[in-house]
């Protein structure tokens, strides 16, 4: 379970998060929606100590992660997998080596054959095969995103964090990635937090949705509850989603 308690984050004079409080029960998919620059990614990075909140508490399975040192954060990060806005693949390594990277660290007991088997298994989870020997720059951006997902799930995280996983992708790949998030979350029984602009996807696969505006939560609830929410920003997001639905 992940719990945010009155979390504030300030960059200089600018307050990006203004007293965020919410909870994500185990095994649920939570979507965090909002326009650009409202602190969605900052919120996600605070969970794993990649950023520190100015005040407030963030509990991951009961452990307050806000005041932990890099060493103390290690077990928390071990539980979590994060898919970044960029694919964040290591350019100098092949796709195989990228997926195997975390495995070598966390499963040193794996033999070469076991490692290769696990890498193949993870790549097949994201519908990729035959790309193991290629470098990241030799495959498309959408494929890189999927490899990033494979690298993340390879080490069996219990919590999956997605930072705008479909930004910059075409509609077909976007759909495929969204289906993958749902499939992986259900298949691997993970708790998932997805930062996104995509209301349609949130309505399709989220258990809970939070809408952020100017660093504050302006709406929260299940997809059904969100559909009835009168907040102007939620209506704007819904309108876009409904327009897309009508068009398709």
């Amino acid at each position: 379970m992940i719990t945010f308690r009155d979390v504030h984050k300030q960059f200089g004079e600018r307050e990006v998060l203004k007293g965020i409080t919410f909870e994500v029960p185990e095994g649920q998919i939570l979507f965090i929606l909002g326009t650009s620059g409202t602190g969605k990614s900052v919120l996600l990075k605070n969970i794993v100590g990649l950023m520190q909140p100015t005040s407030g508490q963030i509990l991951v399975d009961g452990t307050d992660v806000t005041r932990l040192s890099e060493e103390e954060l290690f077990p928390v990060r071990r539980k979590c997998g994060m898919v970044f806005q960029h694919p964040a693949l290591f350019d100098s390594l092949t796709i195989f080596e990228n997926v195997a990277f975390g495995l070598r660290k966390h499963y040193p007991e794996y033999s070469a054959a076991q490692l290769a088997e696990r890498v193949r298994e993870c790549l097949s989870l994201v519908y990729l095969s035959g790309v193991e020997d290629k470098k990241p720059q030799a495959i498309s951006y959408g494929m890189q995103k999927r490899v990033s997902l494979a690298r993340t799930v390879a080490v069996n995280p219990r919590i999956l964090l997605f930072d705008e996983p479909t930004t910059g992708l075409d509609p077909v790949t976007t759909r495929a990635i969204n289906d993958l998030i749902l499939e992986l979350s259900r298949k691997l029984k993970t708790t998932s937090l997805v930062v996104s602009h995509d209301m349609q996807c949130a309505l399709d696969i989220a258990d809970q949705i939070i809408v952020l505006d100017m660093g504050e939560i302006v709406a929260r609830g299940t997809p059904e509850e969100l559909r009835k929410n009168p907040h102007p920003l939620v209506r704007d997001f819904l309108k876009e989603a409904l327009d897309a639905e009508t068009a398709s």
Binding site: V48, L50, G81, M82, A88, F101, K105
Partner: protein, 221 residues
Amino acid sequence: MKDIFVQLEFVTWQSLPVILFCVCFAAVVTIIESSFHMKLVVQNDALVPGFAALLILRELGAVVSALLLTSRVGAGLAAEVGSMKITEQIEALKMLGIDPVRFLVVPRFVACVIGGFLLSLIANLVCLYCAMLVSEAKLSYSSGAFITSMRAFVTFQDLVFACLKGACFGAVIPLVSCYFGFRCKSGAEGVGLATTNSVVVSSVLIIVLDFVLTFLFSHFY
């Protein structure tokens, strides 16, 4: 360990041609200029090999090599780490349980220290050899006369200190480059700025460190 060897090959072997090319020219200029000015001032250039060798070993070989290493290795390193920072690869390393400093900085630091030492040694020897060839061709010194004159001014200790300087300069480059790389702001402009800053700061620090080391070593002469 494998990473250290990969970096050592990049720092030392791949930098060697450009460093040797440049120090050879530096040697030519040093010996010809020394001769010209000595003839002008004391009407005699008998001490040129000795002075030139002293200048090469105490300053030129190590400093020129380090400055070239800064522009080749330091700039590349700052750009590499900076790009990793803005494309979230550093954060991905942290999420995979890897300490980015241990993974990125340590192998490069070790490689640059060893590389700086080796490059300074090779550059100084090649520079001296080149100076000897030029003085033989242009100043009518035989190799034997050059070496005799050189030995009157320089000792083995000078070569050791030159190599130690090279190692210290080598340590500066990855530390400064990684510092700016890790603090790189997003965008191409951010990477450019990190690269520029790393080269400028490394070069300045190398020159200041050269003064400090020369002052320290002067107590041993």
